[in-house]
């Protein structure tokens, strides 16, 4: 298993570790619930070094990125970020990513840890331009600071920018605690927050600079356990669970990130047809459990005695104090589903997403 540049720090903080996408990542430091609630009320500091960064640069990069993405990259100005899907020719989702536009023909694609190799191969295979594609994942560490106090915690470390002035899904490059950093107003928690991209060699220095200020403000270091419950409450899908190569954006409930009017892109024909005929074999819905038994990923979903799909993500919500999740189901239903939890059917109601 790969270890992040911050592994020794996590060990000194007595983190429990878990395997994720081939990485040995902190699962939790104190308790998932405490870490989750710290992000909702104050702030949390995350090591996300496992995420991948692919640079696409040089003549034709604009065209290549636009062709790869379902969302409209041509709308981006320098310093802007876009959430988008990469689809295959069948409309299945290769990955869900963030596109950072540095300048004309100069982008970074931030991809899921488990997909780095797949995405790199995919992007290279689609490249018929002069742009160069570089996997910068090993050199780049992503540290996230998320929560309502994150910006006031970060601001004193940033001499050249007022972080509160950076709009949502924008980024600037500047110094944080004397370390050159891309400061991005993005996140995966449903809270205000910042994601910081630094050279892996400076990752420990950046973490060590921010950590005391986070603790001082009442925040906590946060592991992947709470990252999962935070993103779930916020209605954010996780690649590999809520979507995969055989799921289209519409089937994952991500149709708003597909811009069929933007010109040609990979998967467009299939997606256009699916949008027009409304025929999809499955649909992602949010559900809320009505009792304490927890419906988790992989559990079978039933309606009127017939299997209609599976739970793709499910967990107790620390903020709502009830069980929530996503299920991928094959029929249209707006009221209730039943979920097989250890051989017993438990009723769950379909609810609107985001859950919070």
């Amino acid at each position: 298993m790969k270890r992040t540049p911050l592994y020794e720090i996590h060990k000194s903080l007595h983190a429990k570790f878990t395997e994720f996408g081939g990485w040995e990542m902190p699962l939790q430091y104190s308790s998932i619930v405490k870490e989750h609630l710290a992000v909702r009320s104050t702030a949390g500091l995350f090591d996300l070094a496992h995420m991948g960064e692919l640079d696409v640069k040089g003549g034709g990069a604009d065209d290549l990125v636009q062709k790869l993405c379902t969302n409209d990259v041509s709308r981006l100005v320098d310093g802007q970020v876009l959430y988008t899907l990469l689809c295959n020719e069948s409309g299945g989702i290769v990955d869900d990513i963030l596109v950072y536009r540095h300048a004309e023909n100069d982008y970074t694609l931030v991809v899921n840890a488990a997909n780095i190799k797949k995405d790199l191969a995919w992007v290279k295979a689609q490249n018929n331009t002069d742009s160069k594609i570089t996997d910068d994942s090993e050199n780049t560490t992503l540290i996230a600071l998320q929560g309502p106090k994150s910006i006031e915690i970060l601001n004193p470390f940033v001499p050249d920018h007022d972080v509160s002035e950076i709009s949502f899904f924008r980024f600037v490059v500047g110094e944080v605690a004397g370390i050159r950093t891309a400061i991005s107003r993005t996140g995966y928690t449903g809270e205000i927050g910042i994601e910081l991209y630094v050279n892996a060699n400076s990752a420990e220095d950046l973490w060590n600079a921010l950590y005391p200020a986070v603790i001082e403000a009442g925040g906590l270091p946060v592991g992947l356990g709470a990252r999962d419950t935070l993103r779930l409450e916020a209605g954010l899908r996780l690649y590999g669970m809520d979507m995969d190569d055989d799921t289209t954006p519409f089937e994952a409930g991500l149709g708003r990130f597909v811009k069929l009017d933007k010109g040609d892109f990979i998967g467009k024909d299939v997606l256009q047809a699916q949008k027009e005929n409304g025929e999809q074999s499955k649909k992602l819905v949010g559900f809320q459990g009505l009792d304490r038994a927890v419906a988790r990923c992989g559990y079978e979903v039933y309606k009127n005695g017939r299997s209609i799909g599976k739970v793709t993500s499910g967990a107790p919500s620390p903020s709502l104090k009830c069980n929530i999740g996503f299920a991928s189901i094959s029929i249209k239903t707006k009221k209730t589903i039943e979920i097989d939890i250890r051989g017993k059917l438990h009723t769950a109601k379909i609810v609107k997403v985001p859950f919070i």
Partner: protein
């Protein structure tokens, strides 16, 4: 600290004997490993349990964990307060966080379980 007078399973349940009545819970070590307990699924009063067979399930935020019965016998009481306050298992694993009481069919089954010293050695080895 591991209470002296209890017996322990490899799967981290403890059992307290009073005559032929066994009270069952999970150890402090187990609750600290599981963390954030949100639900405990226990059998109904009257259920017959067999030693080392499944007794119920603990759910944490992250995962579900099976529970095993340290002894054979009939469930005579269940800690109903865990339904509304499962966090008692985290806060007080040896007292308020008990799960159920069993009327044992064969108290000598307890001899096959770890004593406190053996359990201590076992978790040290597991953690090493």
């Amino acid at each position: 600290m591991i209470p002296e007078k209890l017996r322990y399973m490899e799967s981290h349940e403890w059992v307290r004997q009073e005559d032929d009545i066994a009270t069952i819970g999970i150890t402090d070590y187990a609750q600290s490993e599981i963390q954030d307990i949100v639900f405990v699924e226990l059998p109904d009063v009257g259920t017959e349990l067999t030693q080392k067979n499944e007794l119920g399930v603990i759910e944490s935020v992250k995962a579900a964990f099976d529970l095993y019965s340290p002894v054979s016998g009939e469930v005579i009481e269940v800690n109903e307060s865990l339904l509304d306050a499962p966090e008692q298992v985290n806060d007080s694993p040896y007292d308020d966080g008990w799960f159920l009481k069993i009327k044992m069919t064969d108290p000598s089954e307890l001899d096959a379980l770890f004593d406190a010293d053996q359990y201590q050695a076992y978790i040290e080895a597991e953690h090493a």
